[in-house]
């Protein structure tokens, strides 16, 4: 170290070096020139985003008819994608909030990107409830406001609950994410060399100066936000599950949906976090901060949540049989053995069998295997929603209206496009914002106690 005083300080100076190392490594990502891999990745994401723009243009000018939805399956890929994305979002909140409450310090390495992922997933999810409506230009009628029609929304509808749940969730996620980022934005402000970056980060950092009094209130506020986000995250996917569970449709109307959806959401969310972070830690050189053990921990959570989901599959089928409700029992037999059985088996094998590989240590440590298995899990979780929505609706109470859903190319393009939106936002985040919560990593490092009396 250059400073003699620091050198003289011995181990205490080393603590500072550790902190500076963290600052350097993380700030570098945002402040250094754009790395080579970024532009191609951004280009591909933009192309995918273009798919969304094109398909939405076609959708808005032509109608829902461009998709494969029909009078039997009013919802298909649109709501499947919605639930898929909103589920992905949940891991971020879980990592930031729930693990924070449980004092799982390892979360600090991944929570920032997981929260970012949450927000972008919610953004990707949020477009679907709007665009899936037949007349999206009237979607604002779902916001309660005085109007010339003198009408109010109908609050008994789970879709209204969705409006509130998702908007609350988006707001909270953004505030939580932003609040966690304020000290790190201040770091970037203080390290940026270009004037526009200084101004930009400076405005975003709100003039943060790390005062102990500020930290005190900040930490308390952060804790409260975490404590609020935890029941919120439970409620959001529960509310999403109510969209189905409040109906009378066999296959939809079941009481275990709320916790089951939450478990599934966490499951898919962790898979998505791992899918993103494993490459990111390689590309951004953050392997010493996002450690192998963190990836392993996520894999273990995937085993647990995967089994919860599997348990829910089991109890659903058992109760369907037990209930003595013929329609209920048929729906599940049809799900397993009917013409959509391919989807059901895709779901079960990806969601219940695939995570079992994570019992094997090798599968948790090899990045290729982790990413591969996580992608399979996400495929499986997409299929779970598809199975719930499409196969249940395909054969309901009236055999005179049984059908089979076939997607159109616009279904596919819209879905790809939602990935484009997600990846584009994520790449922008990874390029310009602190991808790791520096202050939190420092706070939980052993060096944070340097110079304290051990008492």
């Amino acid at each position: 170290m250059a400073s003699p005083s620091e050198a003289a300080a011995g181990s205490d100076g080393e603590a500072q070096a550790v902190f500076r190392g963290i600052t350097d490594d993380v700030s570098r990502v945002a402040l250094n020139p754009t790395p080579k891999w970024w532009w191609p990745a951004f280009g591909v994401s933009n192309l995918m985003l273009l798919c969304l723009v094109v398909s939405l243009y076609h959708l808005f000018t032509t109608g829902i008819g461009v998709w494969g939805n029909n009078n039997i399956q009013g919802w298909a890929w649109d709501i499947t994608n919605f639930v898929f994305w909103i589920g992905i979002g949940h891991a971020g909140t879980l990592i930031s909030a729930v693990l924070y409450l449980f004092r799982q310090d390892w979360r600090t390495s991944i929570n920032r990107s997981a929260e970012a992922m949450t927000i972008f997933a919610v953004a990707a999810a949020g477009i679907f409830p709007i665009i899936h409506t037949g007349r999206p230009w009237f979607a604002w009628w779902m916001i309660p406001h005085p109007n010339d029609m003198g009408m109010w929304p109908q609050f008994r509808s789970p879709l209204m609950w969705d409006v509130f749940a998702i908007s609350t969730y988006a707001t909270t996620s953004i505030l939580f994410w932003y609040m966690g980022m304020v000290p790190d934005l201040a770091t970037l402000r203080d390290r940026a060399k270009e004037r526009w970056k200084q101004v930009g980060y400076g405005l975003l950092a709100l003039g943060w100066r790390g005062s102990a009094r500020q930290w005190h209130r900040y930490e308390r506020a952060y804790l409260i936000l975490a404590a609020l986000s935890t029941p919120l995250v439970l409620s959001v996917h529960s509310v999403v599950s109510f969209d189905f569970a409040t109906s009378q449709n066999p296959g939809w109307h079941t009481t275990i949906f709320p916790p089951y959806f939450v478990a599934g959401a966490i499951f898919s969310g962790f898979a998505m976090v791992a899918t993103l972070l494993v490459p990111l830690r390689h590309l951004c050189g953050l392997k010493h901060i996002i450690k192998e053990s963190h990836i392993e921990a996520m894999c273990k959570i995937m085993i647990a949540t995967g089994l919860m989901v599997g348990g829910a599959y089991g109890i659903e089928i058992f109760i369907a049989w037990y209930s003595g409700n013929a329609g209920e029992w048929f729906t599940f037999r049809n799900r397993v053995l009917g013409e959509y059985s391919w989807a059901y088996f895709a779901m079960v094998s990806c969601n219940v069998l695939v995570p079992q590989f994570f019992w094997i240590r090798k599968c948790r440590t090899n990045p290729w295997i982790v990413v591969g298995l996580c992608i399979l899990i996400n495929v499986g979780m997409w299929f779970e929603r598809f199975v719930i929505i499409a196969t249940s609706l395909a054969r309901q109470a009236m055999p005179g209206m049984w059908g089979y859903f076939s997607p159109t190319r616009w279904d596919v393009l819209t879905f790809i496009g939602s990935f484009g939106l997600f990846f584009t936002l994520f790449l922008l985040f990874a390029r310009f914002l602190p991808v790791i919560a520096m202050a939190e990593v420092k706070a939980v490092s052993p060096e944070a106690h340097a110079g304290k009396d051990h008492h």
Binding site: I64, G65, M142, S157, M398, W402
Partner: protein, 543 residues
């Protein structure tokens, strides 16, 4: 309409007579000596006492047994010696109505096929020939050949191919012409039909051409038996299991039992009229009129008149073949057709299903903007211009009677050339935009018209505000029903026909166990087959 002249007028003009056509006809009629006036004959549609004398005929001995053998057994002929029967189309007859899209899209009662004519093959024969639905087959009779799409049809006689006429026209008009697979138009069955065999020919050979052709059906949108065998069995078995519940039937003996009740009381079913029962909240009540409908399955014969009437009355769009293949047909009223028993010799049951106007309608409670809600008279109202099109109501309707405008089905009216076709719309019914949900309204426009009329003084109206006499309002389907299977009226009037039918012991609620309290109730069908004709070992209408 445009003040043109008819053929007779033209002929008369050529002969130097410029009397208007109607007068010419009236004159000719008067000269014919049929009696009465032309006007009366025109109004009545027939001339009384001009029927042919009654002929005395008698069935041959043992006729019953012979008929049974034909129905159940068929000829069982081998390929090469198959029989081809020519059947008029229930939609286009012999093809003359091919240019009428309403008819083209009205599903045939048995096949549920729209927009095309097909060759019907019995399941056994199809298996023997290796043909499945939607295979294009080549039927050869002598040196004549016809490529036509096959449809495996339960109940078709074995060894007999039923070729439906009326398709494949080339000069029928914009709608009726044979077109691409996705537009429909059918196949020219006259290629096989000669004056030697107007009704049927024999010695036909059927072979697969190897191509497939999409048939647009409104039921079994795809073959239920598709996929691996378990999948097929599950669907079939379930339908057979559900049938006695959906379409309730009894036989004469069962009906004669005074204890007979079509409403099989669910153990937790509660009396609708009194108390909360098992509802977890106090349900809404209705003080005034309570509109309701009763459909007597015993009277329904599946003629489709109600379906077409509804389509005409309510400005229901015709969507075209491609949309039908995607399950997007818009008819508010459909007739579900089920086969029961052996698929080679099944019993057929039909059931007209439209919106049931549930009092506890599951569709209403999920609409976020209140676009579908209950009127004070118990109608399940659809507020078109409030609808944002979430389609949640559609998903939540156990009867699946809601229809969504997936695209703008009225786009062609933007074209001035279609101006005159605007006249086919009922001026009293809103034409729905794309993105809007719609469904049966119990012909609310007729109800409202009657209510307005009832408020007007006599003699236009009833003279005072008050009850609307039973039978004043008929829904379009009811008006069109030739067998009076559909009855509409006010439940608050205990003397109305619908009240009485709702109290009938044959009445039942469709899916009543859901506690949705549908206002439409069905009356169980009483089957009374001639025991001589019923095939041996087959219970007559038991369930």
């Amino acid at each position: 309409m445009y003040g043109g002249i008819s053929i007779i007028e033209l002929l008369a003009m050529l002969l130097g007579d410029d009397t208007p056509a109607d007068e010419l006809v009236a004159k000719t009629y008067a000269e014919s000596g049929a009696g009465g006036t032309w006007r009366a004959a025109l109004h009545d549609g027939f001339v009384d006492r001009t029927q042919l004398p009654r002929a005395a005929v008698q069935a041959g001995g043992g006729g019953g047994a012979a008929l049974t053998a034909t129905a159940a057994g068929g000829s069982g002929a081998q390929n090469g010696n198959l029989e081809v029967t020519f059947l008029p189309s229930s939609q286009t007859y012999d093809g003359r109505f091919a240019n009428n899209p309403w008819l083209q899209e009205t599903p045939d009662f048995l096949t549920k096929v729209t927009w095309d004519n097909v060759a019907l093959i019995s399941p056994d024969t199809a298996d023997a020939l290796g043909v499945s639905s939607q295979d294009v087959v080549r039927i050869k009779v002598g040196d004549r050949a016809l490529d036509i799409v096959a449809l495996v049809m339960p109940g078709q006689a074995r060894g007999s191919i039923g070729v439906i006429l009326g398709g494949g026209r080339t000069r029928a008009g914009r709608v009726g012409n044979k077109q691409r697979e996705w537009v429909g138009g059918g196949f020219d069955a006259y290629k096989l039909r000669t004056s030697a065999g107007l009704d049927f020919v024999t010695g036909a050979t059927v072979s697969r051409t190897g191509t497939r052709y999409k048939i647009a059906t409104t039921q079994e949108h795809h073959d239920i038996r598709r996929g691996f065998s378990i999948s097929a069995t599950i669907g079939d078995k379930e339908i057979q299991k559900k049938l006695p519940d959906l379409v309730r039937e009894t036989d004469r003996a069962g009906f004669a039992d005074v204890a007979y009740k079509a409403e099989k009381t669910h153990p937790y079913y509660h009396d609708h009229e009194h108390g909360r029962g098992y509802s977890l909240y106090k349900e809404q009540t209705y003080d005034g009129r309570r509109w309701a409908m009763a459909i007597d399955l015993g009277n329904c014969m599946g003629c489709n008149a109600c379906v077409v009437a509804c389509q005409a009355e309510n400005n229901v769009p015709v969507v075209g073949k491609r949309e039908v293949t995607r399950n997007r047909e818009m008819s508010w009223l459909r007739i579900d057709r089920y086969f029961r028993g052996d698929l080679n010799d099944p019993e057929v049951v039909g059931q007209p299903v439209a919106c049931q106007h549930c009092e506890n309608a599951p569709c209403e409670t999920v609409c976020p903007v209140g676009a579908t809600l209950h009127s004070s008279e118990g109608l399940n109202d659809m507020v078109y211009n409030r609808c944002v099109g979430t389609r949640y109501c559609l998903n939540n309707c156990p009867y699946r009677v809601r229809r969504f405008n997936f695209v703008d089905y009225h786009q062609e009216f933007n074209d001035a050339r279609n101006n005159v076709r605007k006249l086919l719309f009922n001026p009293d019914v809103t034409v729905r935009e794309r993105g809007v949900m719609e469904k049966c309204t119990y012909c609310v426009q007729r109800i409202q018209a009657a209510k307005i009329k009832a408020k007007n003084p006599a003699p236009h109206g009833a003279g005072e505000r008050g009850p609307i006499a039973d039978g004043t309002i008929t829904t379009a389907c009811q008006a069109a029903c030739p067998t009076e299977a559909i009855v509409f009226g006010d439940l608050s009037d205990p003397e109305s026909r619908v009240s009485k039918l709702h109290g009938d012991r044959r009445q039942y609620e469709l899916l009543g166990e859901l506690n949705d309290k549908p206002r439409t109730r069905f009356l169980a069908r009483v089957r009374n087959p001639n025991p001589e004709l019923a095939p041996a070992g087959k219970p007559a209408g038991h369930h």
